[in-house]
Symmetry: C2
Subunit: 479 residues, 2 copies
């Protein structure tokens, strides 16, 4: 099994004085981050956290969270990255399923978590330091992070992301985007998502500055892009739209140093791509997922304006194919291969295979054009993407089903100017119940962004001959 140097240690050794992180007006070099993470690792050890065990982490995208993550890396912990928008019930499922031994939480979430061992970030910071041996070498196959993704089953699956997965992803992205010593990546996507987390792994492997924001700030982002303070930014359609608005209002254009906006989390409207072009701001659409530790395919910087709407070609180590397609342009399920593909799940799905004959079947529909460029046509059957967050109808339906008055439930996405899509629900009831009651019920059990914006009580749901719910026909019930 291949071993590689502890990224934190090696990076601090190689470029100690280079800027590693910016957050709220403060700045850290790689040496400073290394020192602080090491101290936190000693404190975590004093708090009883054992090396190479599994912990869950819940926080906002702050410098403090980054330091907790880096301390956890030093201890080679398996980090279950909890989505801070989840409901208490959803969080509980992930804590139970992952069997995390400890939960590390931002103070602001201390009351949201029920677990036998909860440590707030402050608890850790105030602890004494214990002796600890930090390994200078890491195993490629070790699980670094676990991120939950819902899929079609209703039960979220904990996806393992190994050291090798993250490393392969970062290296392949560099081969596509190039690499400059003064690169800085504006990260305003949540760190608990692979999009945000992969910015941290790139930072350590490349020696690159992360310009971190707890929340996306369109004005700050626009100014940083125009001044050359950052060279890359990750966006989703929602944040790109806000960014474009500000740049146009303020009459800003991208600095010549600026490389690209990396746009993930679902399709980007063509109009946005065209507006970005006139601001000299390349937008590179990318296709990635939790199971692939970020990007599988991405447009190349010099093609941003040539293949508008495409998600590009595979990164250097990866391959894709369209299941069943016999010629360019034919649609089918997108299948993925490469060193960035997860080796598997944990918990209740631990036995499930992630690949068939070496290929990960994504569930997403797309085609490859005659030049080899991927176009993603439709996400995993019924996936709803709202402000960059994936929402699986099955999970919402499962919650509605659990209400005693509900006989049947169907959920689909509705186009929304602001969010791209929002979920709406249709239910058949067996007892009297008001829409308000069902709404309130969902709010208790689901992350806010998953709560249907509208719930309709109907007589029957559209089903096919095998009685399978036809979610795509649900919107017809509105007409």
């Amino acid at each position: 099994m291949e071993q590689i140097p502890n990224w934190l240690m090696q990076r601090a050794h190689l470029t100690p004085q280079r800027e590693a992180l910016r957050f709220e007006g403060n700045s850290w070099t790689f040496q400073q981050l290394y020192d602080e993470a090491l101290q936190l690792a000693r404190k975590l050890t004093h708090c009883g956290v054992q090396q190479q065990t599994r912990v869950a982490i819940l926080g906002y995208s702050t410098a403090q969270l980054v330091q907790i993550i880096y301390a956890s890396m030093h201890l080679q912990l398996e980090m279950v990255m909890l989505n801070n928008r989840l409901s208490a019930e959803e969080l509980q499922y992930q804590l139970d399923d992952s069997e995390a031994t400890v939960v590390l939480v931002d103070e602001r979430f201390a009351s949201s978590v029920v677990h036998s061992s909860v440590l707030t970030f402050s608890d850790v910071e105030q602890a004494d330091e214990a002796d600890v041996h930090i390994s200078p070498l890491w195993h490629h196959d070790a699980t670094m992070t676990i991120m939950y993704t819902s899929g079609t089953t209703g039960y979220p699956k904990g996806v393992r992301q190994t050291v090798r997965n993250h490393e392969a992803s970062a290296l392949a992205s560099a081969l596509n985007l190039g690499l400059r010593h003064d690169d800085a990546w504006l990260c305003a996507t949540p760190i608990f998502h692979i999009s945000g987390f992969s910015t941290l792994t790139k930072s350590l492997i490349y020696g690159m500055t992360v310009d971190l924001y707890e929340k996306f700030d369109a004005t700050a982002a626009a100014k940083s892009i125009a001044s050359g303070r950052v060279t890359m930014i990750s966006v989703v359609a929602l944040t790109l739209g806000r960014l474009l608005n500000v740049m146009e209002e303020e009459r800003l254009v991208a600095h010549s140093r600026f490389v690209a906006c990396l746009a993930g989390g679902g399709p980007i409207p063509h109009a946005y791509l065209q507006r970005a072009q006139s601001l000299h701001m390349p937008v590179l659409q990318t296709y990635g997922m939790t199971e692939t530790s970020s990007q599988t395919t991405t447009l190349q910087a010099d093609e941003a304006f040539v293949k508008l709407g495409s998600a590009g070609k595979p990164l250097f180590f990866n391959a894709i194919r369209i299941d069943g397609a016999t010629k360019p342009g034919e649609e089918g399920e997108i299948c993925i291969q490469g060193p960035h593909v997860t080796p598997g799940y944990i918990g209740r799905f631990a036995e499930r295979q992630t690949t068939t004959d070496g290929w990960l079947y994504s569930g997403d529909i797309g085609y490859i054009d005659e030049d080899g460029y991927l176009f993603v046509v439709d996400r995993r059957a019924d996936l709803i993407i709202s402000g960059g967050e994936n929402i699986y109808p099955a999970q919402i339906e499962s919650v509605l089903h659990s209400h005693p008055a509900v006989l049947e439930a169907g959920v689909c996405g509705l186009a929304d100017v602001l969010w791209g899509q929002v979920p709406i629900a249709f239910v058949v009831v067996k007892e009297d119940v008001t829409v308000e009651e069902l709404h309130e019920y969902c709010k208790q059990k689901l992350a806010k962004y998953k709560v249907p914006t509208a719930i309709y009580i109907v007589d029957a749901l559209p089903r096919n001959g095998a009685n399978k719910l036809l979610r795509r026909e649900l919107p017809d019930l509105l007409s």
Copy 2:
């Protein structure tokens, strides 16, 4: 065992129109090189060359050689890269030891090789094409090249360099030097050496242009560096010296696009580094060897003028330590770890372990300073021990180099009844100077025991194919 895409196929798929190779006024895109290599692979197959067998390759650094190498990659051949300066007897040893099934030779060497199956490059080009299945995936652990290295044993050892070794080397170098889409690397070091070959692997993995020369041309190199036509060049002390002379004579300075001269194959005189600095031309000293598929440590571009004389820090995936050293500055044998380290030898040394407890013992002497920078003091085999004092030829050579009349200098030990060994020197001069003057000059700059007991003015110094000084052959100049 991890698999990765066939580099040629993937690179032609990703950046078909990008410039891949320049040679003698001609230029090839990645698609063109891919097509030509594929055709040559079909022809090789028609000539009876079986996939995944071992062949030997002997040629000059030409576009034709590159195409033969790429065709061999397509067939996943193990390529024994023969040094074109070897004597017939030395060649025969390598052919026998490697048991290569076929020898592929440039016409100009056809008469030099005795083997049951010799194919000239023309034979291959004129052959018919056979059907062949080219694998889209390669195994990380497959041996790609075998290069013979002399070491201290007298019998050259055939070093295996795997797909993974080459890949790890290229990726680690990119993390150090950065990566730009319009990079072009001037390669005038022989392709049969790892220095030249690694330029080809970088080209395929990065999508980078190789500006290839059969022989080093100081004027062409100087103009390319000054015009921005190339961004990188590999040099040894000798070629760097010639390059500096031309740039100074022609009053040229390096273009702002130019990244660095990568300087390997032994120490570079301090005077050269200082002269390069005044031409805005960073020279990054590197420490590498055949067993590590090129660089293990390299200076960073922004440190070229800060740590003059150092070979830098390890590249990101690598580690070094000084055997027996307990604190910074202590000299000892340099030990190396990383995914770029050979898994072993072939032929008569097939059973010999290359590493001990995961470390490759280089045989070279160096120290690591308090900032973590490696200084290579000397190759162990060249160490002169005189009256119990260690004498490193490189230091004496460096002093002689700094004399304005000296073009080249080589120092070795001569057996001495009284002292065990004494140092003697051989110099090539560019201006009139007497031996007495040089002797006096050394006395001013060196401890008495380090001053050469004899200095000989000669026409040329013995060098290998990579222009590396062969100190062990210096005494032959006396006979």
